[in-house]
């Protein structure tokens, strides 16, 4: 592992800790007097996490390279962060989910096209995204609900990402599950047969790849990057294949192949891709090839003596032959906004605007130079009162903006983050004369301004599309 990679990992966990604290502040604003003591207790726990992160950041700055130790600290803070995340709901009341999250989902999955899978959103105590419906949940308890309200899709959002649109890409994956279920995609490839329980892991894996494929089509490289950003904070225990989920390595390779085939593999995605490879190599996680999947896997736990063992059913060997059929079906679903190469080109430009603090909700079809040229022509040939109104309006029309797509905005956010955030992080934490809490506040203010900007850009672009002349309502 190299110094920059360790710094990225530390920056990632610093951001998560700050976001957890921001959620606590949100809780505090709606809390009752009796909650205050517990909130203070949580705050002191978060302070403890920050203090643990201070040493590795300082030492790396001073040129020390005790990477093994820093990774241990990283791993401990990640574990503690997840435990704290899980405990919040037990003791304090929770705020409601912001409407911007709904706008994000509705922009990708418009109501008129995906009426049957229109979701509601709730917080998830575990640091995880998910998709559920009440019928399935209650049937596990032997209570059988009727279709209707009980069948509504429920998306689960972790507290920490309550105001982090760059991670909402995972909701596109979760909506992918709902769409797959609604359209019966996996069922059509691998019909459910009574008494064939051994096919269930294969079915679950296909469902995961299907949801990944939908998220990739809509979000492009932003989905891959956010997936890695999420997965690197999990216990290495999650890096092996299970009966419900394929190995993250396989999913990442699948995503990479999709992006490369569609000329969407952005160099910034490579950055996170390599980081994941290095981290798992450091943890000595075995990588299992989907083409030659063994029926039994073992993998050592990097943090204890435990050895992970799992039997995989023979049926999983059919996976490579079925994945092509799956891809064809997913590609045939029509989405209003699929992420393409042009979107990434625009995202590059938007990332610069975002860095300057501008909104990235819209773009101009005509270049500023061209509009300037038309305006100058109009002004040199006419004086007020003389100019033809139609001529004036045709020049004014050129200055109008067009709304950006959600995928452009989110990809711009990730490009900006990879280009700038690590430098910003280093610069803030290099300040010798400020105390740790101030450094966290400064970095937090920076993160908050970027997140607000992206959130507001998504919201503004949606309102823009409603009011723009000639736009479909």
């Amino acid at each position: 592992m190299q110094t920059p990679d360790i710094l990225i990992l530390l920056e990632e966990i610093v951001e998560k800790v700050w976001r957890l604290e921001a959620f606590l502040t949100e809780i505090e604003s709606i809390s009752v007097e009796e909650d205050k003591e517990l909130i203070q207790f949580y705050r002191s726990q978060i302070r403890g996490l920050k203090q643990r992160l201070e040493d590795p950041i300082t030492e790396i700055r001073e040129g020390q390279e005790d990477f093994r130790e820093y990774l241990r600290t990283y791993f401990d803070v990640c574990s503690h962060f997840q435990t704290m995340h899980q405990q919040f709901w037990l003791f304090v009341s929770l705020p409601k989910v912001y409407p911007e999250v709904y706008t994000f989902v509705h922009s990708l999955f418009p109501r008129n096209q995906f009426e049957d899978v229109e979701p509601t959103l709730v917080y998830c105590p575990i640091y995880n995204f998910g998709e559920a419906n009440a019928i399935d949940q209650f049937s596990k308890l032997g209570i059988f609900l009727d279709k209707g309200a009980g069948d509504r899709v429920i998306l689960l959002l972790p507290y920490v990402d309550f105001r982090n649109p760059m991670m909402w890409t995972a909701l596109a994956h979760e909506m992918g599950h709902a769409i797959e279920k609604d359209k019966g995609i996996v069922g059509s490839i691998l019909p459910e047969l009574p008494g064939r329980k051994e096919l269930e892991p294969l079915r679950r894996w296909l469902k995961e790849f299907c949801a990944d494929h939908i998220a990739l089509r809509l979000m492009g490289p932003a989905y891959l990057i956010s997936f890695i950003s999420y997965i690197i904070s999990l216990h290495p225990y999650f890096y092996v294949p299970t009966l419900t989920h394929p190995q993250p390595h396989s999913r990442i390779e699948y995503m990479r192949t999709y992006l490369e085939r569609n000329c969407l593999f952005h160099p910034k995605a490579q950055h996170y891709y390599e980081l994941f490879q290095e981290l798992t190599a450091f943890y000595k996680v075995s990588k299992f090839d989907l083409q030659q999947l063994p029926t039994e896997i073992t993998s050592p736990c990097p943090t204890c003596k435990y050895e992970y063992k799992m039997k995989l059913p023979e049926s999983l060997k059919r996976f490579p032959e079925l994945i092509h059929q799956l891809n064809e079906q997913v590609n045939s679903i029509s989405f209003p906004d699929v992420c393409g190469t042009e979107d990434l080109r625009r995202a590059e430009k938007l990332a610069e605007d975002l860095d300057h603090g501008f909104f990235i909700s819209s773009y101009k079809e005509t270049t500023m130079g061209e509009i300037r040229h038309h305006l100058n022509e109009l002004l040199t040939q006419n004086t007020p009162g003389q100019a033809n109104r139609e001529e004036i309006y045709s020049v004014l029309k050129l200055i109008e903006d067009k709304p950006n797509k959600v995928s452009q905005i989110i990809n711009a956010g990730w490009i900006q983050k990879i280009n700038r955030q690590i430098d910003k992080f280093q610069k803030i934490f290099e300040e010798d004369d400020s105390i740790l809490e101030e450094k966290f506040n400064t970095f937090g203010n920076y993160l908050e301004s970027i997140s607000y900007n992206i959130q507001k850009s998504i919201e503004t672009s949606k309102i823009h599309s409603l009011f723009a002349p000639g736009e479909k309502q």
Partner: protein
């Protein structure tokens, strides 16, 4: 000098970014451009006052206490893009523009309401309509319904207009807004409440009153 619509447009297209007026997004130029101003729209982010259980505004509290007071007596309301915010008669709320606005160092702005909404009883600012040269961010509305009937406010409505004044010295202000040591609202894109605790006079008063007590 107040800019006419074509001068506004020329400034929006200015080649030099330091001289450029930025307004993002411009959704419908034909309706938004007025003879000497440009209309602005209402955003989705509001702040309302929760006065129940709050006795008075203690201006002299230290920053942490003041922040908590503000959090306790204001409530942030974010409405969906297709939702509405109903402003009842005599009610006050903070809102903000849908647009991001940035002014160069030689242009000042003046935020005003629009006649249509004024006639319905809607005021969009009380005292803070002046926009300093160099400002950037969303503009805050001090919304008040001085009429007799509730007014539903929908995000995207053109409730305000901004006119632009060129400073007599074309080099502009020596210290634009965001370079001022005590600027509080620059660069913010959300609705921000009163950050009175950051006023330098408040720190002096805090000190004087502390000494008086001891």
């Amino acid at each position: 000098m107040i800019l006419n619509e074509m001068q506004i447009m020329a400034r929006l297209l200015e080649e030099d970014p330091d001289q450029r007026i930025v307004i993002i997004p411009i959704i419908d130029a034909k309706t938004q451009f007025q003879p000497a101003s440009i209309d602005l729209r209402l955003g989705t982010d509001f702040k309302v006052i929760k006065n129940v259980g709050f006795e008075f505004l203690d201006l002299l509290k230290e920053e942490t206490g003041a922040r908590l007071d503000i959090a306790n007596y204001t409530e942030r309301i974010q409405i969906p893009y297709n939702g509405k915010f109903v402003l009842h008669p005599e009610e006050f709320a903070l809102g903000c523009t849908l647009e991001y606005v940035k002014l160069p160092r030689d242009i000042a702005g003046r935020l005003e309401g629009r006649s249509t909404w004024g006639r319905a009883g809607l005021q969009i600012h009380a005292t803070a309509g002046f926009v300093d040269p160099g400002f950037s961010g969303s503009l805050t509305f001090e919304l008040q319904n001085v009429g007799k009937v509730p007014i539903p406010l929908f995000p995207g409505l053109r409730v305000a207009q901004i006119s632009f004044y060129a400073l007599k010295d074309s080099k502009g202000s020596f210290i634009p807004y965001t370079e001022k040591p005590y600027h509080k609202y620059g660069g913010r894109v959300e609705t921000v409440g009163a950050l009175y605790y950051k006023e330098p006079e408040i720190s002096i008063l805090r000190k004087i009153h502390k000494e008086k007590r001891t």
